[in-house]
C-alpha cells in the first residue's frame, strides 16, 4: 500500500501546523509547549511526502534515518513499525523529534521545501515515538546470548545511552557511570521540561535498564575509579561520553556578583533540582524581574524562557551578532519571541554593576556592528565606540557555551586531547589514543547536538563490538 494521492495533490496539502499552548498562558507554566500532532494530522502530513527515489532527506540526517520508509509506514497506520524503522539508526526518536534542528538537516533538503514547505519530518518522528510509548508498544528487542565481555560507559547523555542500548543487545554486560543523581545528561539537567518532558528521558533510561543495562548514578569517574582502574576491575572496553560540561564565563568585571549564573547552573537548578517548584523542592533559585541572558544558542533560549516562566517582567536576549547568526533552533527563537522575550541584538556586556551588597543591579553594554566573516564564517562583531549604555538587571544568565570537563583527560595517562580539552578520536572508529577506550558526543566535538552525540554512540558501539569480539580474549 502506498500513497493514494497523486503527486500534484500531495503538494496541495499545506504543511501541518503544530498545535501548541497559547503563548500568553504557556509563558507562565512549565508544561510542554507543542502538543504533538493528532493521528489525523499525522496521516495528512505523511501523505505530503513525495517518497522521492533519491531521498535527499536521508542524506540530510546525520544518522541516515530512512525517512521515506518510516513515513510510508505511517500511511499504513503502522505507527509502532514506523518508530521501529527510525530506531534502526536512531535510538532516541521521542527526544530527537523534539530537539533536533530539523530545519538545518532533513527538512532543509526536502524536495517539497522550496515551494510548499518541507514535510514536517520532526513532527512525524515525535508522533510515532509518542504513539509507541503511550500505547505501550515498545518491544524489548532480541538480546544476544552473553558474550562474557564487560563494558563501562562514562556519562549518560545521548552518546552514552546510545552505546548502552547497542551493546546490551549484542550480549555484552553494560554499566553506565553517571556523576549526577539522575541519568540523561543535558537531556535532564539542561533542556527544560517545557521543551523535553523529563518523563520521556526517564522512559528511555528505564527501557535500557529493562534490557539489562546497569546504571551507577552519583559516581564520578576519575574521582571514584579512574579509566585505568575500571580496566583493572575487569571492564574490557570503555566509552567516554562525558559531555562538554564546563561553563564559560565572559571574564568581565563584576561577574562573580550574586545574580549572575552560568546557564548550566540556572538550568540545573530549575530542571534537575526542580527549583521552579520551590519550596516543594528544596533547591532555591533567584527569581529575576529584569533578566538578561547572554548568548544566542539553544541554551540561551532555554534560559530566557525559563526566566519568563519564573515570573520575569522583562526577559532579554543579549547577543553580540544579529538574529541571522543565532545558532539556536529556529523554532525556539520563534517560541521565545511569541512569549515576549525581548531581543537585543548586536549588543555585548562590558561590565556588571553591583548594588553594594554583592548583588547585580545593572549591566553596562556596548553596541556592535558586523564586520568581515571570521573563522566560523559568521560576520565578526566589532564594538561601536561610545555606544555604551546601562541596562537594569537583577539576574544575568551567561549562556556563551561550554568547554570540556578536564577530569577524565587529566586522570587518564596517554589519553590525547586537543588544546580545548576535547578528546581526540579516530573519526571512523571513535577509538581514542588509548586502546579499548572510545569516545563521542560533546567531549569530542565540543558543544554539538543530541543527534550527533547519538550518532557517535552508534558508530562507537559498532567498533567497540568488533574490538570486544576480536581483540578481547575470553
Amino acid at each position: 500500500m502506498g500513497n493514494p494521492l497523486e503527486k500534484k495533490d500531495r503538494m496541495k496539502i499545506p504543511r501541518a501546523v503544530m498545535p501548541q499552548q497559547d503563548p500568553q498562558e504557556r509563558k507562565r507554566n512549565f508544561k510542554e509547549v507543542p502538543f504533538g500532532l493528532t493521528e489525523e494530522m499525522a496521516l495528512r502530513e505523511a501523505s505530503r511526502c513525495l517518497n522521492c527515489p533519491k531521498a535527499p532527506c536521508i542524506k540530510g540526517c546525520p544518522v541516515d534515518v530512512d525517512i521515506p520508509g518510516f513515513i510510508q509506514l505511517i500511511l499504513e497506520k503502522d505507527y509502532a513499525g514506523a518508530a521501529r524503522k527510525i530506531k534502526e539508526t536512531n535510538s532516541l526518536p521521542a527526544v530527537c523529534g523534539r530537539v533536533c534542528p530539523q530545519e538545518e538537516q532533513c527538512e532543509a533538503v526536502c524536495v517539497m521545501g522550496k515551494k510548499f514547505g518541507p514535510v514536517a519530518i520532526g513532527y512525524l518522528e515525535r508522533f510515532v515515538a509518542d504513539y509507541e510509548r503511550e500505547n505501550n508498544l515498545i518491544e524489548l528487542p532480541h538480546i544476544e546470548p552473553p558474550t562474557g565481555r564487560k563494558v563501562a560507559i562514562v556519562g549518560s547523555g545521548p552518546a552514552g545511552l546510545t552505546v548502552a542500548g547497542q551493546l546490551i543487545k549484542l550480549g555484552h554486560k553494560v554499566t553506565v557511570f553517571e556523576a549526577l543523581h539522575k541519568p540523561g545528561g543535558v537531556l535532564v539537567y539542561g533542556i527544560p521540561e517545557f521543551r523535553l518532558p523529563k518523563s520521556i528521558v526517564q522512559a528511555e533510561c528505564d527501557f535500557l535498564a529493562r534490557m539489562g543495562v546497569e546504571f551507577q548514578n552519583s559516581t564520578v569517574v576519575g574521582k571514584m575509579d579512574t579509566i585505568d582502574e575500571l580496566f583493572a576491575m575487569g571492564y574490557d572496553a570503555i566509552f567516554i561520553g562525558s559531555g562538554a560540561g564546563l561553563p564559560n564565563f565572559m571574564g568581565i568585571p563584576g561577574e562573580n556578583l550574586i545574580g549572575i549564573y552560568s546557564s548550566n547552573e540556572y538550568l540545573t537548578r530549575s530542571n534537575l533540582m526542580r527549583a521552579f517548584d520551590f519550596p516543594n523542592y528544596d533547591t532555591p533559585i533567584i527569581y529575576g524581574e529584569n533578566v538578561a541572558v547572554l548568548g544566542g544558542g539553544n541554551t540561551a533560549m532555554d534560559s530566557v524562557r525559563t526566566a519568563l516562566r519564573l515570573g520575569a517582567k522583562n526577559a532579554y536576549i543579549v547577543y553580540r551578532r544579529s538574529e541571522a547568526e543565532m545558532p539556536a533552533r529556529k523554532e525556539e527563537i520563534h517560541h521565545a519571541m511569541e512569549e515576549g522575550v525581548q531581543f537585543m541584538m548586536l549588543t555585548a556586556p562590558v561590565n556588571f554593576i553591583g548594588n553594594g551588597d554583592g548583588k547585580v543591579k545593572a549591566m553596562e553594554c556596548i553596541k556592535m556592528q558586523l564586520g568581515e566573516p571570521d573563522a566560523s564564517g559568521r560576520r565578526r562583531p566589532i564594538p561601536i565606540e561610545g555606544s555604551n549604555f546601562t541596562l537594569d538587571v537583577d539576574l544575568v544568565v551567561v549562556a556563551i557555551g561550554n568547554s570540556s570537563n578536564p577530569l577524565i583527560p587529566q586522570t587518564t595517562p596517554g589519553l590525547q586531547a586537543n588544546k580545548w580539552g576535547n578528546i581526540i578520536v579516530n573519526e571512523e572508529t571513535k577509538e581514542t589514543s588509548r586502546k579499548g577506550v572510545f569516545a563521542g558526543g560533546d567531549i569530542v566535538r565540543g558543544g554539538a547536538t543530541v543527534i550527533l552525540a547519538a550518532g557517535d554512540g552508534r558508530v562507537a558501539a559498532q567498533h567497540m563490538h568488533k574490538y570486544l569480539m576480536e581483540e578481547v580474549k575470553k
Binding site: 543523581h181 564565563f249 533540582m273
Partner: protein, 290 residues
C-alpha cells in the same frame, strides 16, 4: 541507596552521621568532601569528610543544623537511607613533612580538620592543634584531637573552657614565641579563616583554608561555587576546596554565601509548620528562633 549506620546529636545543634559507602570510603582522602541528598525533593548539600573507617567502609560527617536540609538530616534514623551520597569530591589536602604543622579548627571546623591532622601527623610532622568554640558546650572532637596532637590549645570565646579568646590569639602567641611552623591549615567559619589568614600574612607562614561556597553538582559543571583568588576565578568544588588563605577574597565568599537567605528562611518556616515535621522539640525551638 547509602545506608545510615547512626546519626547522633553531639552538641546543641551538631550531629554526627555515619554512612555506609564502602567504595567511596576506599577512595577518599583527607580534605575531600561528599554531596548528600536526603530525599527525592532534597537539595544537594556538600559535607566535608570528618572520618573514614576504611575497614568497615564507613564515612563520618559532622554537621551543624543551619537550615532546612541540615535539619532534615537529623530525622534520618539509624538504619535509614539517604537518596544519594556522591564522592569523594574535590582535591585531597596537600600533605608533606614541613617539620612543624599546625591545624586550626573553629566551630564545626574541628571535625573536617581532624582527618587532615591525622594525615599531617602520619607524614611525620610535629602536630600543633588549636581548636575553639564560642563556649564549652559547643566544643566537640576534643578527645579525638588530643589523641594525636603533640601540642594542643583549646580556646573559648567566653573563657568557659581552655583559654579565653579566639583561636587566632593562641596562634599569635605561638608565632610571637618564634615557633617555626611550616604550614597552617585552618577550617571554620569564614570570619575565623579570614582572621587567621590575615594574621599569618604578617609572619609569612603558608596558610591554607578550606572554602565552603554554595555548590550544586560538585563536578565543575555549574560554576556556582566560584571563589576568587588574587583576582582569578576558581571553582571550589574541583580546584579546591583547599586554597591559599593569603589569596582568598573572603568578602566575596561571605556575600555569595548569603545569596539565598530569604528563600532559606521560607523553606525552614514551611518545614517547621508541617504537621508531620519530625524534628525533635528542642531543635524546633532553636530553629524557630533563628
Amino acid at each position: 541507596m547509602p545506608k545510615v549506620i547512626d546519626n547522633i546529636q553531639i552538641g546543641p545543634v551538631v550531629w554526627k552521621m555515619r554512612v555506609e559507602v564502602p567504595r567511596l570510603v576506599e577512595k577518599a582522602k583527607a580534605g575531600q568532601f561528599v554531596i548528600i541528598r536526603v530525599d527525592e525533593h532534597g537539595e544537594r548539600v556538600p559535607m566535608s569528610i570528618a572520618g573514614l573507617d576504611k575497614k568497615n567502609g564507613l564515612l563520618t560527617v559532622i554537621y551543624q543544623v543551619v537550615g532546612k536540609t541540615s535539619a532534615l538530616m537529623t530525622t534520618v534514623p539509624a538504619g535509614g537511607q539517604l537518596a544519594d551520597c556522591v564522592g569523594p569530591l574535590g582535591v585531597p589536602s596537600h600533605v608533606e613533612n614541613w617539620g612543624i604543622a599546625c591545624v586550626i579548627g573553629g566551630g564545626i571546623g574541628v571535625a573536617p580538620i581532624y582527618p587532615i591532622a591525622q594525615a599531617y601527623k602520619a607524614a611525620g610532622n610535629k602536630l600543633i592543634t588549636i581548636i575553639g568554640a564560642r563556649s564549652k558546650n559547643l566544643l566537640f572532637y576534643e578527645e579525638e584531637h588530643k589523641a594525636i596532637a603533640d601540642e594542643m590549645y583549646i580556646c573559648t570565646d567566653d573563657g568557659s573552657y581552655g583559654q579565653k579568646g579566639f583561636v587566632s590569639d593562641a596562634l599569635k602567641k605561638l608565632l610571637d614565641d618564634g615557633v617555626k611552623i611550616g604550614m597552617i591549615m585552618a577550617i571554620g567559619p569564614v570570619p575565623m579563616m579570614r582572621v587567621v589568614a590575615n594574621l599569618t600574612k604578617g609572619y609569612n607562614v603558608p596558610t591554607w583554608v578550606s572554602l565552603n561556597p554554595i555548590m550544586i553538582d560538585g563536578t565543575g559543571m555549574c560554576g556556582g561555587c566560584r571563589v576568587s583568588l588574587d583576582g582569578k576565578t576558581k571553582f571550589a568544588c574541583v580546584d579546591g576546596p583547599d586554597f591559599d588563605g593569603h589569596l582568598v577574597d573572603f568578602d566575596l565568599l561571605t556575600k555569595r554565601l548569603g545569596a539565598y537567605r530569604e528563600m532559606e528562611k521560607r523553606a525552614m518556616k514551611k518545614f517547621l509548620e508541617d504537621p508531620n515535621c519530625r524534628l525533635n522539640e528542642e531543635l524546633k525551638k532553636v530553629m524557630a528562633g533563628n
